[in-house]
């Protein structure tokens, strides 16, 4: 266990060395949030609420979704694909740790770094510019913290699977880009899932994407209340467990199928 914690620490320090890149990152996210702020204000027009969300809840939803994205987002799918292509994965496999575990820990180090240096200051800055609505209920914050942890786990699991596809398909660059678009759209980052037509909502229930962004953001904006909050977190936990199965299957198949070219 100690070595995995060390991996988190090293990645965190690595990110810290390049922290200036992140100040402009906050600005970029603020610009995006700004665009949606005006767009949503126009969409609401005079309406009190749409699908149970008031305009200030909607703005908060957009802001918190983007800032949470900084935490759960990572490029380990790309890193895994690179290491497989370059043959480095062969060396990783003989080292005394689980390759996927190592990647997950690195992603966590990166996530914690972004949470501290990106999401938190970003959220403070954004709350000065736009009228956000923060909950005063401590339990909401607690549930939200738990919920974005699950967001991270589920998003990372999906990234692990996408990265591992390189073992079978050799080149997944296009696939990784499509996956990113799909996740932005179907996770609820751009639009709350409850805004979609009913048939689409039914369909999305069967996919893990909404557990990444929609559920935590709804908890934060208090769009979910009481029982719904607990159900949302249980659903996330369920997905986090279910996704272990395809990962294990892919991993054992990959180890058999692996071809190292050069290296």
């Amino acid at each position: 266990m100690g070595k995995y914690i060390e991996m988190i620490r090293i990645r965190f320090l690595m990110m810290l060395a390049y922290r200036t890149n992140y100040y402009t990152g906050i600005l970029i996210y603020s610009i995006n949030i700004g665009a949606y702020y005006f767009l949503w204000s126009a969409i609401y027009g005079g309406k009190e609420n749409i699908q149970g969300l008031s305009i200030s809840q909607m703005i908060t939803y957009v802001a918190v979704s983007w800032m949470a994205r900084a935490f759960y987002f990572n490029n380990i799918d790309r890193e895994i694909a690179m290491e497989i292509k370059e043959g480095k994965v062969a060396v990783e496999l003989i080292r005394p740790y689980h390759y996927l575990g190592m990647k997950t820990m690195q992603a966590l180090g990166e996530g914690i770094f972004r949470l501290v240096f990106f999401s938190l200051p970003g959220m403070v800055i954004v709350s000065f510019i736009f009228p956000l609505q923060f909950s005063t209920d401590v339990s909401t914050w607690g549930f939200f913290a738990l919920s974005i942890l699950f967001s991270f786990i589920i998003n990372t699991q999906i990234n692990l699977m996408t990265g591992m596809l390189t073992f079978f398909l050799f080149n997944v660059d296009g696939l990784m880009r499509s996956k990113r678009v799909l996740i932005d759209l179907f996770s609820g980052l751009l639009l709350p899932i409850s805004f979609y037509p009913l048939w689409a909502q039914e369909l999305m229930k069967w996919f893990p994407f909404q557990a990444i962004s929609y559920l935590p953001s709804m908890i934060f904006t208090e769009g979910f209340k009481g029982q719904e909050v607990v159900e949302a977190i249980l659903l996330q936990a369920l997905w986090a467990v279910i996704l272990i199965i395809p990962i294990q299957i892919m991993w054992s198949l990959a180890k058999k199928k692996m071809v190292i070219q050069g290296g």
Binding site: L27, I28, G174, R177
Partner: protein, 261 residues
Amino acid sequence: MYYASMLFQYMGQYLKTRMQYRADMVVELLSDFMFQAANLVFILVVFGHTQVLSGWTRDEIIFIYGFFLVPFAIFASFFNIWDFNERYIVKGEMDRILTRPIHSLFQVILERMELESLFGAITGFIVMGYAAFRLDLSFQWYDLFIFVLFVLGGALVYAGIFVSLASISFWSDAKTSIMPMMYNIGNYGRYPVNIYNKIIRYILTWILPFAFVGVYPSAYFLKKSEWYGYAFLTPVMGIVFFSLSIFIWNAGVKRYRGAGN
């Protein structure tokens, strides 16, 4: 003439290299297409909950988005200079460019072409066609020429902004993230400017005139006569901003000292 033949030579070579990896290209085109579709889904879903957006209907917004895709596709195919600083200044590649007998900017454009982005224009036409059909728009014969003029104007606005930004690297070779930021600001131009507040509207019109890539020129085809003045400014803005950027670029090249050995 010499420049045109150079352009076609480079295009030919480029297509050959891309055709080498066909499967990869198809997947890339598909992912581009998905990206464009995602934005469309956003508009469609939003209009499931509202009838008008500051006086613009669903199909009008869709038309604007479709129009935006066409100049943007042209820009993205030829002005792929967002990483100019790292690629040419930091690595010293600019030295090589300057020894070539054609204008340095043109040379950079030739080397960084990404012709497959032109497929975005096809998506744009399909989206516009759908919206035009739903809106029952009628066109005159001269609208075709106006369309070409507006598309070129929009592409030049984009090109002007990005070439100017790339030229900054001649003065300061520090790494900046201003380029990705500008791509995000560019998205503001896809929606009607009157949803923004006065300051942002002013910026989008006169300082970073992204509104001339989407909403203003589209207003002409949508017969929104109150915006005609702005619509016909599109080619003018394109030429002004692009000329200005060439001027900055040339001034920058004069100052260029080269990095490394």
